[in-house]
């Protein structure tokens, strides 16, 4: 069989189609391939050996997709953050960012995925807009406008815990368009053990670039689905409870956001569901608990650290 024989073309198309189906998540990749090749064999279109070959390749693609390794997730996250930081400039203030990391990294250890390839890191964004972004792998960016809405450390903890929730649930990676990675991952499956060169590198970079656009487009413009935001709120509640902060602070924070809610307005108005909807969901889980006053030492350090924000 030559590389461009009709059968080879057919097999390649079948493989890509099968990969696409698996990636849409409708059905396991190798399951579809097995089913299709069984029919193919039954009809005498393809031989047993060819069927085995397709099944083997389909399994490779399926596995490769499932295995976006933590290292690859890390590189995706770095480029997502670098892209976000083109639109939103970082707030270059050592004291504020150090406090943010102290709080954020401590909280991340109470999450479902405390260890990521590159770890969790936080930075303030120099904008009045109320917004926050979580890039895959653990890079969290939060606006000065958002921090100003937080009345205390517990509310800031709630915001950061929500972003950590997006990371542990891999919402960024899930925003990558279905099929985007199929061709690149097929190349990678075939090129196992070799360093990528020339056209292969270009193909993988293209898929990479597309993935970054998918993620940043969702995070900055389109917004995640409502249920995705609810999931991140659920994670936040779990993290706050486990760490000893009060989950009710998330409700307090959302009430502040509700006061400023402008549907399709800039920032969270554009990318997030209406806060009242999120509050209703959270209260299903935690009830309508009031927040106890914070200890004076905590109030003091929050005020000191965030005075300039």
């Amino acid at each position: 069989m030559t590389a461009n024989s009709p059968l080879a073309v057919f097999l390649r198309r079948l493989l890509v189609a099968v990969g696409g189906l698996a990636i849409t998540g409708l059905i396991g990749c190798s399951t579809v391939a097995k089913f299709t090749t069984d029919i193919g064999q039954g009809a005498g279109v393809i031989t047993k050996q060819q069927a085995e070959s397709i099944n083997k390749s389909a399994q490779a693609v399926e596995k490769t997709f499932q295995d976006i390794t933590p290292e690859q997730e890390y590189y995706i996250g770095r480029s997502v953050a670098a892209t976000v930081l083109v639109t939103y400039k970082p707030y270059d203030n050592q004291k504020e960012n150090a406090y943010l990391n102290l709080l954020g990294q401590t909280l991340s250890q109470f999450g479902a995925k405390p260890e990521t390839y590159g770890g969790y890191h936080f930075v303030l964004l120099d904008t009045d807009e109320v917004n926050a972004f979580a890039a895959p792998g653990g890079l969290v960016m939060i606006s000065r406008g958002m921090v100003r809405l937080c009345k205390n450390e517990n509310e800031l903890a709630a915001v950061l815990a929500h972003e950590i929730g997006h990371i542990e649930k891999q919402h960024g990676l899930k925003a990558i368009k279905k099929g985007r990675l199929t061709s690149a991952l097929t190349t990678l499956a075939m090129e196992t053990g070799k360093n990528l060169g020339g056209s292969d590198l270009a193909q993988v970079t293209e898929a990479f670039e597309g993935s970054i656009t998918d993620i940043t487009g969702t995070m900055m413009n389109k917004g995640y689905a409502r249920t995705t935001e609810f999931q991140a709120d659920n994670s936040a509640v779990a993290i706050l409870k486990k760490s000893g902060y009060e989950p009710a602070a998330l409700v307090g924070m959302l009430q502040e956001m509700q006061k400023r809610w402008v549907p399709n307005g800039p920032g969270f108005g554009h990318t997030h569901p209406e806060p009242s909807l999120r509050i209703a969901e959270i209260q299903k889980a935690i009830g309508a608990t009031a927040m106890a006053p914070e200890p004076p030492a905590r109030i003091k350090r929050f005020k000191e650290a965030m005075a300039g924000v």
Binding site: E71, T106, P114, E115, G118, N195, F208, G244
Partner: protein, 164 residues
């Protein structure tokens, strides 16, 4: 006769112990850039030894989300399970750590796919994108001691069983 039974029982025990050891000898790989073996199963616990990406550790015991392991340097202690994978991580060709002998299903190639080469290629095509701040972000690292101190001074007390 009695001694024969004893001998038989003894050999059964040895066989059981040997198989238990074999079953228990689970080997896992470190899937984070900088891992740590800790004294106790908690992120607030001191670090016994650092671990590198791809290092193989032998799992001795599992307790909730933590694993008691022996690292490549022979030191034992606790690692959070999210830092470990059952897959063997093979470094790219040319590296000293190239691992062989694993089947494709068990093997993850380090630096495969989206890696620093792809990032560099992406960077060259998107001139406005600046990684300097991303690199600066990654330098913000909070130690276990600082975290414990932060929680203590803020009187943030983890719920029962909640200590990470």
């Amino acid at each position: 006769m009695k001694s024969n039974v004893k001998l038989w029982l003894g050999s059964v025990l040895v066989a059981v112990a040997a198989s238990a050891f074999a079953v228990g000898a689970v080997v896992m790989s470190v899937q984070v850039k900088n891992g740590q073996i800790r004294v106790n199963p908690s992120f607030l616990s001191p670090v016994v030894a650092p671990l590198n990406y791809g290092d193989r550790v032998q799992v001795l015991e599992t307790k909730s989300e933590w694993m008691n392991v022996t690292g490549p340097g022979g030191k034992s202690g606790w690692v959070h399970s999210s830092a470990l994978t059952k897959k063997q991580i093979a470094m790219t060709s040319g590296s000293q750590n190239v691992q062989t002998g694993a089947s494709g299903d068990e093997l993850a190639l380090a630096s495969k796919g989206f890696n620093s080469d792809v990032e560099a290629d992406f960077k060259s095509k998107n001139k406005g994108v600046d990684f300097a701040w991303v690199d600066r972000m990654e330098k913000y690292k909070v130690s276990a001691e600082a975290m414990a101190d932060f929680l203590k001074k803020g009187q943030v007390s983890a719920s029962a069983g909640g200590a990470p």
